[in-house]
């Protein structure tokens, strides 16, 4: 792998192989000393042009568990606030000796541009509302751990799909691995054109309570200065996973959320804390899949860890 920009580049076989490698890193992370020397001497730079704590920490943890060094860039204290261009910033960090870049940016396609400019392996940590491929990997891994396979599973993705890079990446990963995906959202939060998307849609969460997985997205009432919902209570009434709705789901079904959660909005607090909520395993698996991707980008094709 030369870079990891979009989940759309991956075949079912490649996805499966990355998940298999991730499973091995799950095992590594369970060891008394959860660290391997695979990337000793390599440097991974974190370029988070959009504020992020969780994802950046997860990548740092992954890099360090592979014994790589990390450098971190945050825009508020950086040269960007002094007017430096994105290109110059990227080239500067390359010149400092980074071997790979993890990039998060509010603009669609920014990681592609940075790859063009630097020629370094670039790992997309989320661009605009476009792609967040490591999130898709960790979500797929979490589902596979729980059910053994995604083949034939009914997965409902509920919430702000229009503005979600998580949804765009997950839809591709889940359907590539054989799941049946239904999108549930008010029209204002669905993509404007779903032609060619391998999904079905539903207009209320009550229509998908028979799902094996309900994947909830974070809801924000305002998007780009526009009000996309009449009110949060109205959203909850039609799309919130309340306790009473949760009790109507099959007993072996699960609930997922990429975080951070709005308890009481898209997810009821008692659902979030239930044993069938996979939110914590998702976070833990995030480290393992990011190790897998970094290993593939910097460590070659060897699978011996």
């Amino acid at each position: 792998m030369k870079n990891f920009l979009t989940i759309e580049d991956l075949s079912r076989g490649e996805l499966t192989s990355l998940l298999d490698l991730s499973d091995e890193f799950v095992e590594v992370l369970g060891r008394p000393i959860p660290k391997v020397p695979a990337l000793r001497g390599r440097t991974v730079a974190m370029l988070f042009f959009e504020p992020s704590t969780r994802t950046r920490m997860s990548f740092e943890r992954a890099a360090k568990a592979l014994s790589a060094d990390t450098m971190s860039f945050s825009p508020s204290t950086s040269s960007l606030s002094k007017g430096e261009s994105l290109k110059d910033t990227a080239l500067t960090i390359k010149a400092m000796g980074a071997d790979a870049l993890v990039v998060r940016h509010t603009s669609t396609g920014a990681p592609w541009r940075i790859e063009e400019w630097t020629g370094l392996p670039v790992l997309n940590g989320g661009d605009g509302a476009h792609q967040h491929p490591t999130q898709a990997l960790l979500d797929a891994l979490t589902i596979r751990q729980h059910f053994g396979s995604l083949d034939g599973l009914k997965v409902a993705i509920v919430g702000d799909i229009r503005h979600s890079r998580v949804a765009r990446s997950d839809i591709t990963a889940f359907t590539t691995l054989g799941a049946l995906v239904t999108l549930v959202a008010p029209r204002t939060l669905l993509p404007v054109d779903l032609d060619g998307w391998p999904v079905r849609t539903a207009r209320a969460i009550d229509e998908v309570l028979d799902s094996d997985v309900i994947y909830l997205l974070r809801i924000q009432k305002e998007r780009g200065g526009a009000s996309v919902l009449p009110s949060l209570p109205e959203y909850v009434s039609r799309f919130g996973l309340t306790w009473s709705r949760f009790t109507q789901m099959p007993s072996d079904s699960v609930v997922m959320h990429p975080g951070p959660m709005n308890r009481g909005v898209e997810i009821a607090p008692e659902v979030a804390d239930h044993a069938r909520s996979l939110v914590e395993p998702q976070v833990a698996n995030g480290v393992a899949v990011r190790m897998a991707v970094l290993f593939r980008l910097l460590g070659g094709e060897a699978t011996d860890v």
Binding site: G128, A129, H130
Partner: protein, 418 residues
């Protein structure tokens, strides 16, 4: 002034083509015939010799944004593209909203002397959309086309006043049709590709709603109206319908809208970012057909230079616009395949008539001012470097069919291909 002979070309007139030489002296065509000789001979074998091209829509960026382009580099680009007259859009800094600014632009054009630069005037002061600009002063300075290009005039009441005022003078109201309440935060066409990329889109309706409203105001006021860079099938239908109702309406299309659709954005390359954005395949077919049939009257390049560093950023962050003067003739030639007469009508004759440019858009014949282009419709070339100060062209590196061999402006060679 020296004599020039354009030798061995196909001289295009309203009835078609004729293989003849064209002799130019003192700024005028003096003779068209066989075996003419002069000191300066331009070999036109196999090429069309027709009226110099006229662009109703170019951004020359002066005054205020000379790092992108100025009237000298813009004039050079225009000449290289076969143009002998261009209309300079008024979204400069300051905006061209008063007589002395308009005079500055046309005088700079004359000083450079490669192409006639006709300033367009802003409809509203500072293009701010709140007060009428100095319309009488602009008119007196030679402005014939009025537009807040880059933005629509949002306020229907204000636009109505401008239309009433300009209909007295005989001016043309030209509109960049974009309802900004539907395009806020958007960078590309709203459709399958924007949905996939998670980018906010500009719906076709944002363009069409403004044209709908404007046409109703044209009906009310009787002003001459020009729809700039029409990009959707719906806009084409609106213009067609208005013409059938007898409204004094014309429309233009930009070359890039004839060449590309929104699938180009999949690679998120800012070289393809412009407003209106690249639309769907159906829209591309519709604007091509409309240019062929004449529903769209003219080609306007919407030449919009930006410095390399400004475009070397992520797609969302890039300024909108692409250069177009130097590639327009080739793009139209390849994408629409017009007969030579129609080719020159769409790229020269009609725009000159519309703008009242009496020295331009004239079919070559003795006594006519020598504003001419020599265009080899079958010759291929690959644009790599540009006469423009900027290089933000989506056609860079692509093989183009149809090449400008020479441009004659006021009897002098303003461009000759090497």
């Amino acid at each position: 002034m020296s004599e020039i002979v354009l030798k061995g070309g196909q001289v295009v007139g309203p009835e078609g083509m004729d293989g003849q030489d064209v002799l130019i002296r003192d700024g005028v065509i003096v003779e068209i015939g066989a075996s003419l000789e002069a000191e300066h001979v331009i070999d036109c074998t196999g090429a069309w010799v027709g009226p110099g091209l006229v662009d109703p829509h170019a951004h020359l960026r002066e005054p205020g944004q000379e790092w992108k382009e100025d009237i000298e580099t813009g004039s050079r680009a225009a000449a290289a593209g076969g143009f002998t007259a261009v209309v300079a859009m008024p979204n400069t800094d300051p905006a061209i909203d008063s007589g002395h600014l308009a005079r500055y632009v046309s005088e700079r054009g004359s000083d450079v002397g490669l192409v006639d630069v006709m300033p367009a005037g802003a409809i509203t002061l500072g293009r701010a959309g709140t007060h009428l600009s100095h319309l009488d002063e602009l008119w007196a300075a030679g402005v014939r086309l009025f537009t807040d290009d880059g933005d629509s005039v949002k306020d229907a009441g204000l636009l109505r006043l401008a239309m009433e005022y300009l209909s007295d003078l005989g001016g043309i109201v030209a509109q960049h049709a974009e309802d900004s309440t539907l395009t806020h935060g958007a960078h590309m066409h709203e459709g399958a590709v924007s949905a996939r990329l998670g980018m906010r889109g500009m719906p076709a309706l944002a363009e069409e709603l403004i044209i709908m409203r404007d046409l109703a105001l044209v009906e009310l006021t009787g002003v001459r109206y020009h729809a700039q860079h029409v990009s959707t099938a719906g806009s084409v239908r609106l213009v067609d319908d208005a013409k059938q109702r007898g409204l004094p309406v014309t429309a233009e299309v930009a070359p890039h809208h004839l060449a590309f659709d929104h699938r180009e954005i999949k690679r998120m390359d800012p070289a393809y970012k412009m407003y209106p954005p690249l639309r769907t395949e159906q829209d591309v077919s519709a604007v091509r057909e409309a240019l062929r049939s004449g529903v769209i009257d003219v080609v306007g390049t919407d030449h919009a230079p930006h410095a390399a560093a400004e475009k070397d950023v992520p797609f969302d962050d890039a300024p909108r616009g692409v250069i177009g003067l130097e590639t327009a003739a080739a793009v139209v030639n390849e994408m629409v395949q017009l007969e030579p007469v129609a080719f020159f009508e769409r790229l020269s004759v009609t725009a000159a008539r519309l703008l009242g440019l009496a020295r331009h858009g004239r079919w070559p014949e003795p006594g006519v001012p020598a504003n001419l282009v020599v265009f080899a419709a079958n010759e291929t070339w690959t644009p790599q470097r540009f006469a423009s100060r900027s290089e933000n062209s989506p056609f860079r590196g692509r093989v183009m069919k149809g090449r400008v061999l020479a441009t004659i402006h006021d009897g002098s060679v303003s461009y000759e291909a090497s």
